[in-house]
């Protein structure tokens, strides 16, 4: 059982889910409220990681992050080292990989909002920013919680992308799912089982906590 791998996975999942929330909030808001006809194109792009095999995604990420790739070159120019096979590279790839899991719940809860509430807010003198923080966000709260949890859980368990982009460097890119794979390869079934069980337990506990909170978050204005 590898504590380092677990710690790394949790650190990765936390970083990704927080960054993803900051990216997905404005993106989902824009998708929900824009009148732009071509928005279905962007929606498709956002949903791509849902259907693409992680290895395909990881492959493209590796190409982009490599010393000759666009992102990799820029990164090298700024930070002086390569992006591939680093924690930052893992984070970047995971952001893309888990994007739909953050955007979809937010988009769904934004689209379910009663538009007339936003109209009322504007008529009462609130600009867009105030409407967003005082009306949209509180009412879409269950969607926000779901987005964070799903992107956390999804990143925690990812394998294919990590293997392609991060390789298998202990403490840097060897996440918990890679650790399990390693142990099975080495015929260490007992160790693999212990780690797998731990991942299962963590996922279950996280999801239960969140669904539990979500229920309560839902209810202050609909006492059931």
């Amino acid at each position: 059982m590898s504590g380092a791998a677990l710690a790394l996975s949790v650190r990765l999942a936390l970083t990704v889910s927080i960054l993803l929330l900051l990216i997905a909030l404005p993106l989902a808001y824009w998708l929900a409220f824009t009148a732009w006809r071509g928005k279905f194109l962007l929606e498709s792009v956002v949903a791509l990681p849902l259907v693409l095999p992680p290895t395909v995604l990881g492959f493209y990420a590796l190409m982009a992050f490599g010393p000759r790739g666009l992102v990799g070159k820029a990164w090298q120019g700024v930070f002086g080292h390569s992006l591939a096979f680093t924690f930052a590279g893992l984070v970047l790839a995971s952001l893309v990989y888990s994007l739909p899991f953050a955007v979809q719940p937010l988009l769904a809860s934004f689209e379910a909002l009663d538009r007339r509430l936003l109209d009322a807010s504007a008529i009462l003198g609130a600009g867009r920013l105030r409407s967003f923080f005082e009306i949209v966000l509180p009412l879409a709260w269950p969607g926000v919680v779901t987005a964070v949890v799903l992107s956390f859980a999804h990143t925690l368990g990812e394998f294919g992308v990590v293997l392609m982009v991060g390789g298998n460097l202990a403490g840097i890119t060897r996440t918990i799912s890679i650790d399990i794979y390693d142990r099975v390869e080495a015929l260490d079934y007992t160790g693999a089982q212990r780690t797998a069980l731990l991942l299962l337990a963590i996922s279950f506990v996280v999801l239960s906590i969140v669904y539990g909170i979500n229920r309560r978050v839902w209810s202050p204005w609909s006492r059931r």
Partner: protein, 364 residues
């Protein structure tokens, strides 16, 4: 004075809808009356800035809200209007107090507290200050919506069927609160409804709207009792809409004869501009038709049509009869009148219709 001169076209499934309004609204109540889908709410949305007209101009006094020519369109948050939406749109996650205080974000805290308290009191909702909207009754919610709109001291108040679904007493009480408030403020209040009773209660100044256009303006009587469009006639409660054919024009008598069914059943109606042979719609109130069980004589009414009762249906304080007299008519009677006439299905009756109860409406 709120001046609205706008055009807006909507394309979608079905025929395009066109809103064309040129109207000035002075301080005080103006009732916008028309059937649903006539364009009343769309007009309010344009005034509030939630929708943008294709062309024209909206101004409050000297201040431009919208001017297509000059490319001006102020966003709703900069227009300082009050708008009670049909759905009320109370913020479900905020208390009554926070809902009412929402529009006062820029007011210093102490003053805000004072004003919120005063408004809650004025609208009789102070006891619910800390409750969430969904725990309130329909009438209480409506009061909250009113309070939230008027506390910002708007310069125009837009009300979209704000009292729908309330019983008469409660509606009257809320309207009274609003009238008291307006007595001090004197701003234009546009009150949209498709309910006759509300027009009668408020109808100082009524503007009739049908198919996106103003069809009449004046007192409630002026607009409702001489509808000029079929949809307006329906909305104003003209139960009988008949297609008739002009048979003879008698300008000397100020009337014309029209045929109802092509089989000799005729009516005398006020003289219009229509020519002999034209087919036109006319509107008749069910309550304006008299019933007799014997052929009457010595009447001023020119139209006496024989018919038979087809069906009777009690509806609260009135009975709705279907009478076939060449064509089917709807007639309203009181339950007492029905008893004293001893009417049953199949009874032979005479319908008595005054010439001036027949209103010519424009085909749409």
């Amino acid at each position: 004075m709120l001046s609205v001169h706008i055009q807006k076209q909507f394309r979608g499934v079905g025929p395009p809808f066109r809103l064309r309004i040129c109207e000035d609204f002075p301080p005080g109540f103006t009732v916008l009356f028309g059937s649903s889908g006539a364009g009343k709410s769309t007009l309010l949305d344009c005034i509030a800035g939630l929708l943008q007209p294709d062309s024209g101009r909206i101004a409050l006094g000297e201040e431009l809200f919208f001017d297509a020519g000059k490319g001006i369109s102020r966003p709703p948050e900069k227009r300082r209007l009050g708008y009670v939406l049909q759905s009320l749109a109370l913020f479900p996650h905020l208390s009554v107090e926070a809902n009412v205080a929402y529009g006062l974000a820029r007011v210093p805290r102490e003053e805000r507290r004072r004003r919120v308290r005063r408004t809650l009191e004025a609208f009789h909702i102070l006891p619910f200050a800390s409750r969430k909207p969904e725990t309130l009754s329909g009438g209480e919610k409506q009061r909250v919506a009113f309070a939230r709109s008027v506390i910002t001291e708007p310069r125009v108040l837009l009300l979209d069927e704000p009292l729908t679904g309330l019983d008469g007493g409660l509606r009257h009480a809320i309207l009274q609160d609003l009238r008291n408030w307006n007595a001090e403020q004197r701003i234009p209040i546009l009150y949209v409804t498709h309910h006759r009773e509300e027009v009668d209660a408020l109808g100082d100044r009524v503007v009739g709207i049908a198919n996106g256009q103003v069809t009449g303006r004046g007192s409630a009587q002026d607009v409702l009792d001489s509808p000029r469009a079929i949809s307006m006639a329906q909305a104003a409660g003209f139960e009988n809409l008949l297609m008739v054919r002009v048979l003879e024009r008698r300008p000397a008598d100020g009337v014309m004869s029209v045929g109802l069914d092509g089989k000799g059943t005729e009516l005398e109606i006020p003289l219009g501009t229509e020519q002999v042979g034209e087919t036109i719609p006319i509107a008749l109130r069910a309550g304006d038709i008299l019933l007799a069980t014997q052929l009457p004589y010595g009447l001023s009414a020119r139209n006496v049509l024989p018919g038979a009762v087809e069906s009777m249906e009690a509806r609260g304080t009135l009975v709705r009869l279907r009478v076939h007299a060449g064509v089917p008519f709807t007639v309203h009677l009181t339950p007492r009148a029905l008893r004293s006439l001893e009417l049953t299905r199949g009874s032979v009756v005479w319908l008595i219709v005054k010439t001036h109860s027949c209103h010519i409406v424009a085909p749409e």
